[in-house]
Amino acid sequence: MNTSNLLTIRDLTIDFTTYDGTARVVDDLDLYVDRGEIVSLVGESGCGKTVTAKAVLGILPMPPGKIAEGEILFRGQDLLKTKDKDLQVLRGKEFGFVPQDPMTFLNPIFTIETQMFDMYTFRGSPDVDPLQYLRSFRDSRRRADTVQRALDMLRRVNIPDPDRVLRSYPVELSGGMRQRVLIAMALMSRPSFMIADEPATALDVSIGEQINEVLETRVREEGISVLYITHDLGVARRLSDRIYVMYAGHIVETASTQELFKGPKHPYTLGLLKSVPKIYGEISRGIEGVIPDYYNPPPGCRFHPRCPHAMPVCRRERPALREIRAGHRVACYLYSEEKKNE
């Protein structure tokens, strides 16, 4: 791991304090995204993947969330130490975000045109005073340019009738259309990094497929780095270059996509892969048990209560991520000789 990566997360630890106590939902997470890469963060619901994404985007609700430790470096700059205003400018210029549920992420009472126009014109500017805002309406040339750009973007995400879509309110559009609009909005100001949080999950299979495809084409063409959050190993396999597997707030395994599917190592990854129903008709019993209580996590490895290979050491100490082959890292004592024999 080096600082020349576009995004580097080090030792990120996030706590949630609620009525019932403090829950450590992300624990000591390391992750990086290189230029032009699509990296998947895979895990089941409640594993902390969305929380991680929100922390990177700076939209983690705090409280109840709290970043207890760690750093999030973007081009070497620690986002957690950056002032709000600078962060906002940085996000506007460099980040894109494609959310999970297209139905709630567009403001229902503004037209797509208004929303795209403002997003393009003002994102990344530190502040906007009323005069500047009004002037943006008067400058008809610039306005026409922006509308052109919006139409262009909509066309590029395969929207057949961009003129109509631009004039519509979100209620008039279907889920797939809205998700395209959101992708177009994210791409409009040429970000260098994008977080996609399960962009196809809320949609029908064939529509979600269209969305993933459009997203991949655009991103590859424009060389944007993507952190793709998903629960679906199959989708991660199709889209990404590298994969992180997350369980209960920890990264348990990471490798390049090929490597991971050829030789998965961590018992959780193995269990997950076996649980996925196969097209040739095979399905395992899945992983027994439930995800641990975050308020009182089990000592040692958080997966040990559900692990078929649990050893005494797993109950005592938490395994660290350890490189077993170039770029393939696993957090499990099965792959560490000295601990295994303890």
Partner: protein, 340 residues
């Protein structure tokens, strides 16, 4: 479904409501009491007097005929004779209603304006001193009985500090302005009668201020909670994540969403104030419809009661229609989404 047919539907919807109000009030004041004449004339009335009164007021006819007569009369301008003032109710109301409307209009405009502004300030300064102050004031605003806070302010400002007049609509010895709209403030302004205008303005401040308390508090809190609600909306989070300037998000996107609900609240508060005005008028000796209604009730003056209530109902229905109009304009979901 377009905006036009949405509005027509809303407009059609008002008809059964107005009809319902007239039936309800007819039942309350004429059917349940049994014989309004006996009530009105009191125990000393002779049978002859009662019979005569019955004939005059159409009470010898069956109930549905009485109702039809009442409705026809209402829409042809024959609102009957008041049992208390022996005037035509319409003439009475022409005198008293503008006073009430003036007071309510001033109070509601004030509370809408100030309520929205303070609501925004409270929301953008959540849990700072601005928020605490507006919170304490608005909790007081809804929890205090209107008549009590009226009396207390009257004591303090009018009696003790003598800053403003205790009550009434215009100072003694000041000639009221020429009757055009019946709104003293407007009439005196248009006729250039500055003395009357000044006196009226001084008189209206306290009652309007007191009347605006609950509305102000409600609007303030609604705007605040709507704005804070907006903050956790996904579309706002998306804009934040995409680095839009905070001010644009707050004052364009969040505000417009919040105003949609604030407008409904303003209409509701207008209706509420038309009720509360009876209390304020009683405290500040304001010669308006509220006082007129209360007196009418004491005298069982059913013609006056029915007319006032139906009139108030129509005004509120009209206000609601206006809100529908605005709301449909502000929120396209109403226009497009209703049938989906």
């Amino acid at each position: 479904m377009g905006y036009g047919s949405y509005l027509i539907r809303r407009l059609l919807y008002t008809i059964p409501i107005i009809f319902g109000i007239s039936v309800l009030i007819f039942i309350l004041t004429r059917v349940i009491p049994g014989d309004p004449v006996k009530l009105a004339l009191g125990p000393d009335a002779t049978p002859d007097m009662i019979a005569q009164a019955r004939r005059i007021w159409n009470l010898d006819k069956p109930l549905y005929m009485q109702y039809i007569a009442f409705i026809v009369g209402f829409f042809t301008g024959d609102w009957g004779i008041s049992l208390r003032t022996y005037n035509n109710v319409l003439a009475d109301l022409a005198r008293f209603a503008p006073a009430t409307y003036e007071l309510t209009a001033v109070a509601v405009s004030f509370s809408a304006l100030v309520g929205i502004l303070t609501g925004i300030v409270a929301a953008t300064h959540k849990d700072k001193w601005q928020d605490h102050i507006s919170r304490i004031l608005s909790i007081g605003g809804v929890s205090m009985p209107l008549f009590w806070s009226g009396i207390m302010l009257q004591l303090l400002i009018a009696s003790y500090f003598k800053l403003l007049p205790i009550g009434g609509r215009i100072g003694d010895g000041v000639t009221p302005p020429v009757h055009v709209t019946g709104f003293y403030l407007l009439d005196s302004l248009f006729s250039g009668n500055w003395i009357a205008f000044w006196s009226c303005a001084q008189h209206i401040i306290l009652p309007a201020f007191v009347l605006s308390f609950p509305s102000l508090a409600n609007i303030n809190r609604l705007v605040r909670s709507a704005m804070i609600d907006q903050r956790s909306k996904d579309y706002v989070i998306l804009q934040e994540a995409n680095g839009m300037p905070r001010r644009l998000i707050v004052y364009k996107y969040m505000l417009k969403n919040s105003l949609a609900s604030a407008i409904t609240m303003i209409a509701l508060m207008f209706a509420y104030s038309l009720g509360g005005v009876a209390l304020v008028e009683a405290v500040f000796f304001w010669p308006g419809m509220g006082n007129y209604l209360v007196q009418a009730i004491h005298f069982k003056d059913f013609n006056a009661i029915m007319s006032v209530v139906v009139l108030v109902g129509i005004i509120i229905v009209a206000a609601n229609f206006l809100v529908d109009l605005l709301y449909g304009y502000l929120d396209p979901r109403i226009r497009y989404g209703e049938e989906r």
